[in-house]
Amino acid sequence: MSMADALACAIADAAAGALPDPAVALRHVAAPGFGGTALFVGTIRDLNHGRAVVGVSYDLYDALALNVFRRACEEAAAAFGPAIRLYVAHARGRLAVGEVAVVVAAGTPHRDEAFRACRAVIEAVKHQAPIWKQEHYADGDSAWSEGCSLCGGDAHAAPVPAGPA
Protein backbone atom coordinates (compact mmCIF):
# COMPACT_ATOMS: atom_id res chain seq x y z
CA MET A 1 0.00 0.00 0.00
CA SER A 2 1.30 3.44 -0.80
CA MET A 3 1.55 6.18 1.79
CA ALA A 4 -0.89 8.26 -0.25
CA ASP A 5 -3.59 5.61 0.17
CA ALA A 6 -2.77 5.22 3.84
CA LEU A 7 -3.55 8.84 4.73
CA ALA A 8 -7.00 10.31 4.14
CA CYS A 9 -8.05 13.88 4.92
CA ALA A 10 -11.51 15.31 4.33
CA ILE A 11 -13.82 18.24 5.02
CA ALA A 12 -17.48 17.35 5.56
CA ASP A 13 -20.00 19.96 4.46
CA ALA A 14 -22.78 20.09 7.04
CA ALA A 15 -24.91 22.22 4.70
CA ALA A 16 -24.97 19.25 2.32
CA GLY A 17 -25.88 16.87 5.16
CA ALA A 18 -22.38 15.45 5.57
CA LEU A 19 -20.63 15.06 8.93
CA PRO A 20 -17.36 13.34 9.85
CA ASP A 21 -18.20 9.65 10.30
CA PRO A 22 -16.36 7.47 12.83
CA ALA A 23 -17.39 4.31 10.95
CA VAL A 24 -15.78 5.59 7.73
CA ALA A 25 -12.66 6.49 9.71
CA LEU A 26 -12.43 3.02 11.28
CA ARG A 27 -12.86 1.33 7.92
CA HIS A 28 -10.18 3.51 6.36
CA VAL A 29 -7.52 2.71 8.96
CA ALA A 30 -8.18 -1.05 9.19
CA ALA A 31 -5.66 -3.50 7.74
CA PRO A 32 -5.00 -7.23 8.30
CA GLY A 33 -1.62 -6.48 9.86
CA PHE A 34 -3.00 -3.97 12.34
CA GLY A 35 -4.03 -4.91 15.87
CA GLY A 36 -4.63 -1.46 17.32
CA THR A 37 -6.87 1.40 16.26
CA ALA A 38 -7.31 4.64 18.17
CA LEU A 39 -10.14 7.01 17.30
CA PHE A 40 -10.98 10.49 18.53
CA VAL A 41 -14.41 12.01 18.02
CA GLY A 42 -15.06 15.66 18.83
CA THR A 43 -18.68 16.62 19.32
CA ILE A 44 -20.58 19.84 19.99
CA ARG A 45 -21.14 20.43 23.72
CA ASP A 46 -24.27 21.98 25.18
CA LEU A 47 -22.30 24.27 27.45
CA ASN A 48 -19.14 26.33 27.03
CA HIS A 49 -17.68 28.65 29.63
CA GLY A 50 -20.97 28.40 31.47
CA ARG A 51 -23.16 29.50 28.53
CA ALA A 52 -25.86 27.26 27.08
CA VAL A 53 -24.88 26.44 23.49
CA VAL A 54 -27.43 25.37 20.88
CA GLY A 55 -25.08 25.01 17.94
CA VAL A 56 -21.70 25.83 16.42
CA SER A 57 -20.78 27.09 12.95
CA TYR A 58 -17.35 26.13 11.63
CA ASP A 59 -15.54 28.27 9.09
CA LEU A 60 -12.52 26.68 7.37
CA TYR A 61 -9.88 27.78 4.92
CA ASP A 62 -10.37 24.52 3.09
CA ALA A 63 -7.23 24.33 0.97
CA LEU A 64 -4.84 25.20 3.78
CA ALA A 65 -6.77 23.09 6.31
CA LEU A 66 -6.36 20.04 4.08
CA ASN A 67 -2.66 20.84 3.74
CA VAL A 68 -2.32 21.10 7.53
CA PHE A 69 -4.20 17.81 8.00
CA ARG A 70 -1.96 16.12 5.44
CA ARG A 71 1.23 17.45 7.02
CA ALA A 72 0.07 16.35 10.46
CA CYS A 73 -0.59 12.86 9.10
CA GLU A 74 2.78 12.74 7.34
CA GLU A 75 4.55 13.80 10.54
CA ALA A 76 2.67 11.17 12.56
CA ALA A 77 3.49 8.54 9.93
CA ALA A 78 7.17 9.51 10.12
CA ALA A 79 7.11 9.32 13.92
CA PHE A 80 4.92 6.24 14.46
CA GLY A 81 4.91 4.38 11.12
CA PRO A 82 5.77 3.30 8.55
CA ALA A 83 3.08 0.69 9.24
CA ILE A 84 0.24 3.13 9.86
CA ARG A 85 -3.01 4.35 8.34
CA LEU A 86 -4.55 7.68 9.32
CA TYR A 87 -7.85 9.44 8.78
CA VAL A 88 -8.89 13.03 9.54
CA ALA A 89 -12.22 14.68 8.77
CA HIS A 90 -13.55 18.02 10.03
CA ALA A 91 -17.00 19.53 9.59
CA ARG A 92 -17.74 22.86 7.89
CA GLY A 93 -20.98 24.74 8.52
CA ARG A 94 -23.56 24.73 11.28
CA LEU A 95 -23.77 21.78 13.68
CA ALA A 96 -26.20 21.05 16.51
CA VAL A 97 -25.29 19.88 20.02
CA GLY A 98 -24.06 16.28 19.91
CA GLU A 99 -23.12 16.38 16.23
CA VAL A 100 -19.63 15.34 15.18
CA ALA A 101 -17.22 18.19 14.42
CA VAL A 102 -14.04 16.17 13.93
CA VAL A 103 -12.88 12.57 13.64
CA VAL A 104 -9.28 11.36 13.75
CA ALA A 105 -8.30 7.68 13.51
CA ALA A 106 -4.98 5.85 13.50
CA GLY A 107 -4.43 2.16 12.77
CA THR A 108 -1.10 0.48 13.56
CA PRO A 109 0.20 -3.02 14.39
CA HIS A 110 0.26 -2.23 18.15
CA ARG A 111 -1.78 0.08 20.34
CA ASP A 112 0.85 2.48 21.66
CA GLU A 113 1.62 3.89 18.21
CA ALA A 114 -2.09 4.17 17.42
CA PHE A 115 -2.83 6.19 20.56
CA ARG A 116 0.17 8.46 20.11
CA ALA A 117 -0.43 9.09 16.40
CA CYS A 118 -4.14 9.80 16.96
CA ARG A 119 -3.31 12.24 19.74
CA ALA A 120 -0.61 14.01 17.71
CA VAL A 121 -2.96 14.50 14.75
CA ILE A 122 -5.89 15.85 16.77
CA GLU A 123 -3.55 18.27 18.56
CA ALA A 124 -2.38 19.56 15.16
CA VAL A 125 -5.98 19.91 13.98
CA LYS A 126 -6.85 21.86 17.13
CA HIS A 127 -3.76 24.09 17.23
CA GLN A 128 -2.57 24.49 13.64
CA ALA A 129 -5.49 24.08 11.24
CA PRO A 130 -7.25 27.20 9.87
CA ILE A 131 -10.64 26.49 11.42
CA TRP A 132 -12.85 28.94 13.31
CA LYS A 133 -15.77 28.23 15.58
CA GLN A 134 -18.75 30.51 16.05
CA GLU A 135 -20.89 29.47 18.99
CA HIS A 136 -24.65 30.05 18.96
CA TYR A 137 -26.16 30.50 22.40
CA ALA A 138 -29.58 29.69 23.79
CA ASP A 139 -30.22 33.41 24.33
CA GLY A 140 -29.89 34.09 20.57
CA ASP A 141 -26.43 35.62 20.76
CA SER A 142 -23.48 34.28 18.75
CA ALA A 143 -19.73 34.71 19.20
CA TRP A 144 -16.55 33.61 17.51
CA SER A 145 -14.49 31.50 19.94
CA GLU A 146 -11.27 32.86 21.23
CA GLY A 147 -8.72 30.60 19.64
CA CYS A 148 -5.15 29.59 19.39
CA SER A 149 -2.94 32.13 17.60
CA LEU A 150 -0.87 30.67 14.77
CA CYS A 151 1.87 33.26 15.47
CA GLY A 152 4.81 31.20 16.65
CA GLY A 153 2.68 28.08 16.94
CA ASP A 154 4.00 26.90 13.60
CA ALA A 155 7.53 26.61 12.28
CA HIS A 156 6.45 28.75 9.33
CA ALA A 157 5.12 31.61 11.42
CA ALA A 158 7.06 34.58 12.68
CA PRO A 159 6.60 36.02 16.16
CA VAL A 160 3.74 38.47 16.64
CA PRO A 161 4.92 41.93 15.62
CA ALA A 162 4.47 44.63 18.18
CA GLY A 163 1.15 46.17 17.26
CA PRO A 164 -1.92 47.75 18.76
CA ALA A 165 -3.41 45.53 21.45
Binding site: Y61, H90, W144, G147, G163
Partner: protein, 88 residues
Amino acid sequence: MTATVSVRLFGAFRDLAPAAVVELPLPDDASVATLRAALEAHGRGHWPAFQPGLLAVSVFASAERVLREHEPVPRDGELAVLPPVSGG
Protein backbone atom coordinates in the same frame (compact mmCIF):
# COMPACT_ATOMS: atom_id res chain seq x y z
CA MET B 1 5.26 49.01 -9.19
CA THR B 2 2.07 48.54 -7.25
CA ALA B 3 -0.55 45.84 -7.80
CA THR B 4 -3.65 44.82 -5.95
CA VAL B 5 -3.67 41.68 -3.86
CA SER B 6 -6.79 39.88 -2.62
CA VAL B 7 -6.81 38.70 0.96
CA ARG B 8 -9.46 36.22 2.07
CA LEU B 9 -11.10 36.82 5.44
CA PHE B 10 -12.06 34.06 7.88
CA GLY B 11 -13.63 33.69 11.31
CA ALA B 12 -14.33 36.99 13.03
CA PHE B 13 -12.81 38.90 10.07
CA ARG B 14 -15.38 37.34 7.75
CA ASP B 15 -18.09 39.54 9.30
CA LEU B 16 -16.25 42.72 8.27
CA ALA B 17 -16.74 42.42 4.51
CA PRO B 18 -19.73 40.80 2.81
CA ALA B 19 -17.57 39.07 0.18
CA ALA B 20 -15.12 37.86 2.84
CA VAL B 21 -12.28 39.25 0.78
CA VAL B 22 -10.42 42.56 0.75
CA GLU B 23 -8.43 44.08 -2.12
CA LEU B 24 -5.30 45.95 -1.09
CA PRO B 25 -2.84 47.85 -3.32
CA LEU B 26 0.67 46.74 -2.47
CA PRO B 27 4.18 47.40 -3.84
CA ASP B 28 5.52 44.45 -5.84
CA ASP B 29 8.30 43.78 -3.36
CA ALA B 30 6.13 44.17 -0.26
CA SER B 31 6.79 41.90 2.70
CA VAL B 32 4.12 40.21 4.76
CA ALA B 33 4.74 42.89 7.41
CA THR B 34 3.86 45.54 4.83
CA LEU B 35 0.70 43.62 3.93
CA ARG B 36 -0.18 43.53 7.62
CA ALA B 37 0.24 47.32 7.88
CA ALA B 38 -1.86 47.84 4.75
CA LEU B 39 -4.65 45.64 6.10
CA GLU B 40 -4.57 47.44 9.42
CA ALA B 41 -4.83 50.83 7.69
CA HIS B 42 -7.68 49.56 5.54
CA GLY B 43 -9.49 48.13 8.55
CA ARG B 44 -9.18 51.30 10.60
CA GLY B 45 -10.38 53.34 7.62
CA HIS B 46 -13.24 51.19 6.37
CA TRP B 47 -14.50 48.78 9.02
CA PRO B 48 -16.15 50.23 12.15
CA ALA B 49 -16.06 46.79 13.84
CA PHE B 50 -12.38 46.18 12.98
CA GLN B 51 -10.32 44.91 15.91
CA PRO B 52 -6.63 45.81 15.56
CA GLY B 53 -5.89 43.54 18.52
CA LEU B 54 -7.27 40.56 16.66
CA LEU B 55 -5.12 41.36 13.63
CA ALA B 56 -2.07 41.53 15.89
CA VAL B 57 -2.53 37.86 16.88
CA SER B 58 -3.42 36.80 13.33
CA VAL B 59 -1.11 35.45 10.63
CA PHE B 60 -1.09 35.63 6.86
CA ALA B 61 -1.07 32.45 4.81
CA SER B 62 -1.20 31.02 1.34
CA ALA B 63 -3.18 27.87 0.58
CA GLU B 64 0.02 25.95 1.30
CA ARG B 65 1.39 27.44 4.48
CA VAL B 66 1.54 30.21 7.05
CA LEU B 67 3.79 33.04 5.82
CA ARG B 68 6.72 34.48 7.73
CA GLU B 69 6.53 38.15 8.59
CA HIS B 70 9.66 39.15 6.69
CA GLU B 71 9.21 37.15 3.51
CA PRO B 72 7.91 38.76 0.31
CA VAL B 73 4.17 38.47 -0.27
CA PRO B 74 3.72 35.67 -2.83
CA ARG B 75 1.94 36.99 -5.94
CA ASP B 76 0.75 33.68 -7.31
CA GLY B 77 -2.11 31.91 -5.63
CA GLU B 78 -4.31 32.84 -2.74
CA LEU B 79 -3.66 34.96 0.33
CA ALA B 80 -5.60 34.87 3.56
CA VAL B 81 -5.48 36.40 7.01
CA LEU B 82 -6.03 33.87 9.80
CA PRO B 83 -7.25 34.93 13.24
CA PRO B 84 -6.54 32.53 16.12
CA VAL B 85 -7.95 29.10 15.29
CA SER B 86 -10.41 26.96 17.23
CA GLY B 87 -11.03 23.73 15.35
CA GLY B 88 -12.27 20.43 16.67
